[in-house]
Symmetry: C2
Subunit: 143 residues, 2 copies
Amino acid sequence: MGIELSTLGRHVLIEFYGCPSEVIENNSMIERFMNEAAEYSGATIVESVFHHFNPYGVSGAVIIEESHLTIHTWPEYGFASVDVYTCGDSVNPWKAADYLSEKLHATKTESFEIPRGMADKIRQFAEQEIDQIKVKIELEGVK
Amino acid sequence: MGIELSTLGRHVLIEFYGCPSEVIENNSMIERFMNEAAEYSGATIVESVFHHFNPYGVSGAVIIEESHLTIHTWPEYGFASVDVYTCGDSVNPWKAADYLSEKLHATKTESFEIPRGMADKIRQFAEQEIDQIKVKIELEGVK
């Protein structure tokens, strides 16, 4: 019935500096890269929403069954800021991060991972008794 | 023409423990709270996407002109994990955080802020010469 988790989620924050503006000003390509990154990491895409700024730059989120990916780009500064938040053990957020690193051609990338939803704290502060903390399985069928 | 920024964005990460399940299992209420939090912080909402899990829990993002808010809830564990990422100086991410704190009735809240898009690094690693780093103003009219 699933392996007990020490944290529900893994959140990777990535700053891409020195990206060629022809890459990060291409809004439809950025949306495609984000969706491909999600798929490459093993995630199941639920929805993808992107806002194209006038005159340039994009803000977007890919909601995945395992949480989300977001991006904000500033082509005028060669900068893109990405988050990959995944839950469970079937998806590796670093695969999405690596995929985007390859595509965005940054001269410098900074990234780190923050655990989200630590099981010990969830148990400590819960109002109810909690037994094992496990990966959420989405059920098929009528809600 | 705008004040020079030391960072493009401010990213607040919040973990809400011990939330009453009747609050965080109410998917439509969570979506409303997230949109209200965005408005309360002074943000302009672009789009709101929420995925309701079967049997319970919600994952969602509110894309704002100033970046994004996301949430993931685990009613079975009384846990909700929130991000508020804002750009520029017209929106205060902590106002959204405080609004959600009030609404989610957590027994314990942990939060911290991470600067995103630090101007000095953007300038250091850019391929082009960058003068002042300023708030992005969205232009009206045809792209």
